[in-house]
Symmetry: D3
Subunit: 213 residues, 6 copies
């Protein structure tokens, strides 16, 4: 009988074990190198359902300087997200706590409030968009915008976050400005903050990050 090659249906009918990977997914091989489009794919025959499930989007420990915790399910936690342009996180904010001003350089954030009351907002050069949210409210923070979330209620607050990136990052403004070794005078010059204020916050946030200059 004549051999038939390149025939998709025979291929699938025979549930061929070929590694002729059809990119139905590309689970990250986190030990390999990253690239602008994400990590290399694990060989399909080593992929299991556990690559597509992340367990642990549970309440974080809010006993810290922010009285808040952000538990992430990003591609580095959850390799099945690789190349799929979406990720999630859980936000817990104790009474009086907040997620201070921050950005996600390359991702839009959705905030889904499930418990308590959160006052959240983002700013553009000409306006501030802020609102007090309760369970069942969803707010969107467009890509790269500086935004904040404050527990403005009387108890703890909980939310889930969705991001338009498998690896959204999170850049806390205080760490960017005060967590590294930029000279205080340079920070003051480029922020118009008083030098004393800068030094005070450098003392709080470290001010000894790596200086590549």
């Amino acid at each position: 009988m004549k051999k038939i090659t390149h025939s998709l249906f025979l291929f699938t009918i025979l549930s061929c074990t070929s590694n002729a990977a059809v990119n139905d997914f590309c689970v990250a091989d986190l030990k390999g190198p990253d690239s602008p489009s994400g990590y290399q794919c694990k060989p399909p025959n080593t992929v299991t359902v556990d690559d597509f499930v992340f367990s642990g989007l549970v309440a974080g420990n809010t006993t810290n300087t922010f009285n808040a915790a952000l538990t992430s399910a990003f591609v580095t936690d959850f390799p099945g997200l690789n190349g799929l342009g979406v990720s999630a996180a859980r936000l817990d904010i104790a009474k009086g706590g907040s997620i201070p001003m921050h950005t996600h350089p390359a991702a839009t954030e959705l905030l889904i409030v499930v418990e308590g009351q959160i006052t959240a907002g983002f700013m553009t050069p000409s306006a501030v968009y802020s609102k007090t949210l309760k369970a069942g409210d969803v707010m969107v923070f467009p890509q790269g915008q500086l935004h904040f979330q404050v527990n403005s209620g009387n108890g703890k607050a909980t939310a889930f976050l969705a991001f338009s990136s498998a690896n959204p990052g999170a850049q806390l403004l205080d760490l960017l400005l005060f967590g590294n070794s930029l000279p205080s005078e340079l920070i003051a010059q480029t922020t118009f903050l008083d030098v004393e204020q800068v030094k005070k916050l450098k003392a709080r946030f470290g001010g000894r990050g790596i200086d590549y200059s």
Copy 2:
């Protein structure tokens, strides 16, 4: 000293007369036409914080044929999502209910279980990836894959969904196959189902959709 407000930085300090629409966001004008990249933007000066907030991601009514409800926060519900590549939904499944086999043709789905127990999975031509999930578990269903969610617990189940599209759609297999006017014989021929089975399900799901042929 003169105060500087509403200033798109130095640009407008200079003589630039442009009204300087910076695309920090593009809130959908849902009354205008759609395009492959989304809806037209509302004029920025008519945008308010309410465009960025959706209220109502609350428990849906599960008294229906599926014993389940999917409450969406897609761009058509929530114009601030336009062009941002992400959306959300809430899933409620009563005991014994399920979200039957379906696809989102152009979106990956994240399922975040918050209450109860859900057995979920997706299939490729060579494998099935399914797991029983509990609160705190997240599962990803890669773009375009056929998948299902079943309440496999003893009480109700609740989850939030995130999608990698502002308008993910949802195509329930039974509606695609049996909710329209495709002749039963043609459905049988292209699914290998028995004609009697097809007719039975057409009776259940309508079989009276629009026939553009």
Copy 3:
């Protein structure tokens, strides 16, 4: 006068010592790992014209359960397609045959009929779009939509397919539902098919795929 060859224009005339990989193309190194954007590129100096040519988009053997054959020229067959977002296939359907209901999770399909008569269509939750096509007709099946093709003529039918992806995949509904180890009761619950029908088709399509759960 000195001749100038192999020159990336003025760049290399100048002192640039780079070996100047200009991404005019990125032929897949199919032995290397895949990534969300495709395979790694073969070193440009090992690329030959044969990487850009695929021979064998010829009539497939239609002596099978579908009376049809799909011969593919996807990136896994044809490494020059890597990263270029397009691929092709040839479809042969014997009299009475069909390509049953299927999806390409991340690709739009164009069907170019070259011989015979094909009745084809796709369904959304609210409508069916189907038509009987003859030589010279082209039909588009938008990304991720469930669709079918039936030889509705008196002889064989032939078509070429173009896809908006270098690796479109092809997910035959029967294989997704019945070709794996999902329990019959779960399939029945999530499709509303009768369990007997499910068991009958599992017997036909294998029902012995890999179960990752």
Copy 4:
């Protein structure tokens, strides 16, 4: 009965006629304006199957200066392609004819030979990739590359083309250089062609295009 809003399933079960467009597709409204992502979508309730079918990818008239015809099924011919990133064409080349040097500025081309013999190729600054193709051969011309197709056989040649764009354009080198009102001296200076050669070809190809300078 209690009204349920934002519930997708009830919505679809009732085959709701809402224009709450889920972007399963976006058929071009060719009378409306174009945008960088394509044309505006026709209202979904005015879409019919004929928007997804193009009839007429048949043999073109090769009685012209090239002894060749390119019959296109681009979005401007075939509105269902809007936003889907793929299109097609048919190529007929009479004996001795050719498709001269040309580019598609933003699209990769696949050439599927179905009859006769075609010698085709593309060039980079450091190499030429050319081959003589026969029925069943497919060749890819990566995005933006200058390429050509010559009927090198003894009879007519026929091929189908697929493009990685809904609107690939086609820029014939002779028309770019000689079909417009660029001064002959400027063309000569920027191509190193002799002025007499330029004038000869301007006479042939018109040299009366629109001059926006």
Copy 5:
């Protein structure tokens, strides 16, 4: 004579004036609505070379609070950029001046120094990347990163900027934090700045922007 339709070559040979727009470009109609992919295209027959040329990337007036000027050539200034993913600007910084901390939410920036000395940098949560640059140096600030530029030389400094977006925006941190109506206490809570510092800078930068809450 037989009419030939859909034939690209006859079409172009006859330098047809058809508005059968091939998207070689999409010049913005700035009076029409914007969309996530950019502005609508002007009708091709109204486009002139002046749509592709911007005049005025000249020295800006640096007599202002920053001793600096940023002159932009963004799509709102230069409609030919629409949909093309690139734009430019000119930066002039008088001695002692600076471009304070700012982000471009959706664009990477290239800084090409042409005169004087500029100390520039960007910060991530774990490091600062800064350097003193002179004429002929180019520095890249990846998408969405907080960055600054200071004239650290003895005379004026001049640079050209290129962005990976037709409309990169520019969000000056001081305007985001202090140029609007966010309550001082909320700013203090979410930045860890002292309230007095916040009030001082609100006085300087306006603090009366639009409050959408």
Copy 6:
């Protein structure tokens, strides 16, 4: 109080042990393989500010056949550009010199004139868009269009170029047509140039490139 440094915000405060590569950037490892989305990322801890700075966008040597020099800052020169979709170059054209007809297959080009006078243009099949530019003028050449730049002034001319790709390439028409081993008769047939003209230019531009056929 305990200081917090090197902290990816709350994530790492919590128990997350991930080494948390957040893709704030992906500096190219130029020794590794390329992919359709660019090079693999260098390990973040080996990245320094020098990866984000390119020194040498200075005047090139114009003593060559074109009296012109193009000095590039592309990803192969400047690894920090990897994945960021933008690059730069410097153009120097001596009096009487020119950058002959060329394309960038996958990039739009912005030309920023800083000194002298340049006449530049691009052509479509139906029009030519050309203009004489002086310092402060910017012109855009949309992706894949054939274009040229001529020094039309009385002294040298200088410009900076920005591209919408990290690796735009540059394909000089004369090298494509005459710098390789395509047979003169085939070039003549597919360009309508006289064979003598072809042979003359092959003698000038080499005509001995690699022939992969």
